[in-house]
């Protein structure tokens, strides 16, 4: 095999990154719990009778879930470790990075700083629940179109946050950069950047993230 043929067969670094990011966009959700090399994290469960586990019933991506949880379980840990929905990412676990952003009854929250037991009866939407079957959510399509990521780790949070943010803007919520309160400002780049400031991207893909959100703003609602 010649050197040029070998180069053709070997995936490039760029192809690897693109594949990884594409999986993040789609909220790839098939955790291989059977793989011995990568055992699942044991979900938190109280064995102390004075601190009993609590029953929780909620709807996640349209499916009703009934769980019995240790009160310490965060919404993020419930999604990732109890339900296997690993699209939502644990970045800092302190509400500073936004990688864990999900929608609760349509509003965006940092799921790492919310207890699962506080969401009894709530409707949760994660990155896995945004697409309509094989049809990507407009924000997902726009992130692919505009290359709104590099490593893709923050992307599920960015997209969920953008979905919540666009609803807030549509409802007329002001932001810190809004000149006139109650004026229902245009969704300028400055408005998008301010409203998305809770979601950090270590790869600094911000210009493309802003472009993707600006592009999807009209059809994402």
């Amino acid at each position: 095999m010649s050197e040029s043929e070998r180069r053709l067969l070997r995936p490039t670094r760029r192809q690897m990154l693109e594949t990884g990011a594409a999986l993040a966009i789609l909220g790839y959700t098939k955790p291989s719990f059977s793989a011995e090399s990568n055992p699942p994290v044991t979900p938190l469960s109280s064995t102390d009778p004075a601190m009993p586990n609590v029953p929780v019933r909620l709807v996640v991506n349209g499916t009703e879930q009934r769980l019995t949880l240790d009160t310490r379980t965060t919404l993020l840990d419930m999604l990732r470790e109890h339900l296997g929905l690993t699209g939502s990412k644990k970045g800092c676990d302190h509400g500073q990075c936004g990688a864990c952003t999900v929608l609760v009854d349509g509003r965006r929250i940092n799921s790492c700083l919310s207890l699962a037991v506080m969401h009894d009866g709530d409707k949760i939407t994660t990155i896995e629940g945004l697409a309509d079957g094989d049809r990507l959510h407009p924000l997902q399509a726009a992130f692919v179109e505009h290359d709104g990521f590099q490593c893709g780790y923050c992307t599920p949070g960015q997209i969920c946050s953008a979905a919540g943010m666009l609803k807030e803007h549509k409802a007329g919520w002001p932001s810190v950069v809004t000149e006139e309160l109650g004026s229902h400002p245009e969704l300028s780049d400055a408005e998008i950047r301010e409203r998305m400031s809770g979601n950090i991207c270590r790869c600094s893909a911000y210009p493309n993230i802003v472009a993707a959100i600006r592009d999807a703003a009209g059809e994402a609602l």
């Binding site: 009993p52 700083l113 207890l115 309160l181």
Partner: protein, 90 residues
């Protein structure tokens, strides 16, 4: 995080009573500060009283709603607290 028990209050009076009755109890609303500190074990409450579904006094809701925000200032999420602080001033 240290283990704790949890209850949800449906009125302000019930929440106040629940916290007063139990030593080491704390209120939880958004949780963005309390949970953060609980993870570091700076805060170690024995019991949490969730005030999210309390029927809140209408006055503060009105003040924020009049300024275009439907959010109750008591349960504002921290990264948007600046917005609420601004709406309350106006």
């Amino acid at each position: 995080m240290k283990a704790f028990t949890y209850e949800r209050a449906d009125s302000v009076a019930a929440a106040a009573r629940a916290v007063a009755d139990k030593p080491g109890a704390k209120f939880i609303a958004g949780g963005t500060n309390l949970l953060d500190l609980m993870k570091l074990e700076v805060e170690t409450p024995k019991h949490l009283v969730d005030v999210n579904r309390c029927r809140s006094p209408r006055s503060r809701m009105h003040r924020t709603a009049a300024c275009g925000s439907e959010r109750s200032s008591a349960t504002a999420i921290s990264r948007r607290t600046r917005v609420c602080a601004r709406t309350i001033r106006c």
